[in-house]
Subunit: 311 residues, 2 copies
């Protein structure tokens, strides 16, 4: 399985259009040792010429145009090689990119019932996905079920890969209705994914609320774990003066602190652990910062746009 990180920043990207925090200002001025990043977008290819997306980034069009292997060609009979999109939540930065995929192509969208209610029932703008003939097909994700996905033309072959949906006890986005909040199963609002192929495992959770801990064992047992690297500290956004919400109130376990991701993550985990969904305010973006070195010294990698991983 080939994995491409097309985007690695949190909502808004880095730099953010209206932000002059230390990171955004020094990146714009060209004085930072660090990289610009588009909003989190993961792509994986379980077999030649077929790609799936995890998240639907607001920057998806730019990301796809820049990735030749994700563009249509004569080898893909003139269609995009994108077969499906896995949605971890209904957050704007995880679903807005679906609107980039409108027009003339059907594919699968994998989402929990709650995420489908927000996107399909409450926001008719996403009906533009029905313009394809046949229309986009929605597949319902159920927590903790392991599903085989068959891509071979030979029906006797084993599944090409397996996916499991991991409930992460996260928040609904602020624009979801009370009906959705009341009606959803616990854990439906925000999920992670475990992908398996030939005994190799990839764990994906761009958002980790820290409100449950079942995911930790799965992540630690994976060959590669893509993990929520949104905020360094719980108070990080307060310092900008623009919000009164902590990282945890926004549904993100911070990296630092006694209860943070770095301290909680099992020290004996043997796989690669890669931080993704990094907010523009996070000091780890500055490669000269103490925080950047602390993360690297703890054995974590920091995802960047263009990172390719072979599983």
């Amino acid at each position: 399985m080939l994995i491409q990180i097309l985007g690695s920043a949190a909502g808004g990207g880095f730099p953010q259009w209206n932000c002059t925090c230390a990171n955004c200002s020094s990146l714009r001025a060209g004085t930072m040792r660090g990289k610009a990043r588009t909003q989190t977008q993961i792509a994986f290819s379980p077999t030649d010429g077929v790609w799936f997306l995890v998240c639907a980034s607001p920057d998806l069009r730019t990301q796809l145009v820049g990735a030749r292997e994700l563009s249509p060609s004569s080898e893909t009979a003139g269609h995009s090689p994108i077969a499906g999109v896995f949605l971890p939540s209904a957050d704007v930065d995880a679903v807005m990119g679906l609107l980039h995929l409108r027009e003339f192509q059907n594919f699968f969208v994998f989402a929990t019932p709650a995420v489908q209610r927000v996107v399909r029932n409450e926001n008719p703008i996403f009906r533009v996905l029905d313009r394809a003939n046949p229309p986009v097909q929605w597949q319902t994700l159920a927590s903790n079920r392991r599903i085989g996905c068959h891509l071979s033309e030979n029906s006797g072959d084993p599944p090409t890969f397996f996916y499991s949906t991991i409930p992460l006890a996260g928040n609904y986005p602020d624009y979801a209705s009370e009906d959705v909040r009341r009606g959803g199963s616990p854990g439906d609002a925000c999920v992670g994914f475990l992908l398996e192929q030939e005994n190799k495992k990839l764990f994906i959770a761009p958002t980790l609320s820290g409100h449950n801990s079942e995911w930790i064992k799965l992540a630690a047992a994976a060959n590669v774990a893509l993990l929520d690297g949104t905020f360094w500290s719980d108070e990080e956004l307060l310092a900008t003066g623009r919000t009164k919400k902590t990282a945890r109130a926004m549904g993100h376990l911070p990296l630092s602190g006694a209860e943070g991701l770095l301290a909680q993550y099992p020290k004996d985990a043997a796989g690669r652990k890669i931080l993704i969904h990094i907010n523009n305010t996070n000091p780890i973006l500055d490669e000269n910062s103490e925080e950047h070195h602390a993360v690297v010294d703890a054995g974590f990698e920091i995802a960047y746009d263009g990172l390719t991983i072979e599983l």
Copy 2:
């Protein structure tokens, strides 16, 4: 007034993520004499350090990050210099970019009652604009009214510029409800704009249905007219095999033909006439094509990303 064309393509951009038409294929292969284009986005600055947008392109984040004068700086007290957005319709490629402008900054959105109903009432995802404190402020556009916009700190000064809203008799987007369609005033679905400053006039209509003709005199009297260049011919999309809709059925007057824009446009119009919102299938994108030369020979310019116009 300074005008920046940040994007010049129709919905989907050029190349389009899932398209292998002659233009998209040859652009990807590097064999075309022509330029990649992001989705239509116009910005104008009526006074130093203040910018307004016309349309909210799906590519807006990438466009803003690439335009230094539209980025926040110490001169703009750490805020984006964007003061407002004019919406010509509720088409996905004209409103999706509002979602890029979420988080922590208020600005004005100018839209007709029908466009507001689609965006604000029927699609709660746009409520993320209310996260700013104070929230984004909606201003209602009324057809054929000329409004002065004051940006000077001195209340005795005349308006910095004037804007008028021109009804264009276009379609509602396919995702709008029957309620909106029934309830709207004629001409509310799709409008153009006339901007005036110090006797200079800019006419803007990225979508022209051709169902009315009042706009022609206004466009022809302007110093600069940005005009619907979506399709060369009425049958252009039929040839792709992907839709059964003509250009006119999609709400776009084609460029060619006896009733097309080139034939209809007054020959004695003295101002610059610039085609924008150009679809990926339009042969004028190929600078070696007959159609490209026909347009240029008729005195029209073809907008490209990065074009700057001084009014």
